[in-house]
Point group: C2
Chain length 172, copies 2
DNA sequence: CTAGGTTAGACAACGTGGTTGTCGAAATAG
DNA sequence: CTATTTCGACAACCACGTTGTCTAACCTAG
């Protein structure tokens, strides 16, 4: 991270003059692109009846999945302790996005499932994301956006998205 | 955010078959690209003598700037209270990345400056970012990467990068 | 069938980073 | 000179993560 402290590099034409970007700016702009989408998503979700959802909740819903899961397994997927996952679920349960049902086949397990409201938020999220993408297609042109997405896939090859976002940014 | 709950949309050929990407995947991959760069940056920084730096610290150093700043102003730039900014600075001061000097022209102010060690971490960060970018240039080809960066700039037009990352993800 | 180990979830104590509120000292406006 | 603003410090509090412990339920050997 450095704009003022940039390593001006060995001779030749500066990178910017060749239309290139300093490495740190690529990182910053990737994050900013993500953040623009997420901020707009949640502004629109708030307008559409989901004012209490936060960026993290999308990752949680994704980790819960259509078949439900347990607090332990959720903690594993999110990279946090089962207790932390449980506390997050407490909040989402209060907001009406998930329910805990007891598993008849294993009396210890409490299976967490999305409620109708939870599914509704996911359907709306998908639509809003697609609308943002559609605006990007206008801004870049559809061919250019397809190339952009293809390159993005090349650079981030994994099939599985890392969901262990909570605490990732933290200070220690 | 939805893979299983995708809105399959009205008729025609599915977006994937046209080489397009669902909107939510664009967001996820932008974040993943950022995260790949940041994770590699900090792994390499740790190897080069800066094992205690965290993703957030880069934003803090950026907000401090080459001329130094005060806790109040830093809090403003990071979007947190002056007290929170002060606590963060306490930690960085203990680690030897910043010093607080009293301002002879205003006895209330304590100007925070980067130490030599702080500047060293920025110089190394810039170099590491550029190395990662260079590998991306190999993966995509230099022309394709330039186009990618150009499109990224189009999509994230702002001059100023938002530094108010702490708490942005939080749950309430 | 039972004994021992494992697993899920609840509960408590704690740490870290954020918040607000208050205060005194120093600067500034009138 | 006085009144107001601003900076930094201190304290109380809160949100959200952590670890540790405990009980109930399941599973597997013998």
């Amino acid at each position: 991270m450095s704009s003022e402290y940039r390593t001006e590099a060995r001779g030749e034409m500066p990178a910017e003059a060749r239309g290139e970007m300093p490495g740190y700016e690529v990182a910053l702009r990737l994050f900013q692109g993500f953040r623009l989408m997420i901020d707009e998503l949640h502004a629109e979700l708030a307008r559409q009846g989901h004012p209490d959802l936060r960026p993290m909740h999308g990752f949680v819903f994704q980790a819960i999945g259509p078949d439900g899961t347990t607090a332990v397994e959720l903690g594993r997927r999110l990279g946090v302790s089962k207790q932390a996952a449980g506390k997050t679920l407490d909040g989402l349960e209060r907001l009406g996005y998930v329910v805990r049902e007891s598993d008849p086949r294993d009396a210890r397990r409490k299976v967490v499932r999305l409620t109708e409201r939870g599914v509704d938020s996911l359907v709306r999220s998908a639509r809003i994301f697609d609308e943002i993408r559609a605006r990007w297609a206008v801004a870049l042109g559809p061919d250019r956006l397809r190339a952009f997405e293809s390159d993005l896939r090349t650079l981030t090859p994994s099939e599985m998205f890392p969901l262990d976002v909570p605490g990732w940014f933290g200070s220690d």
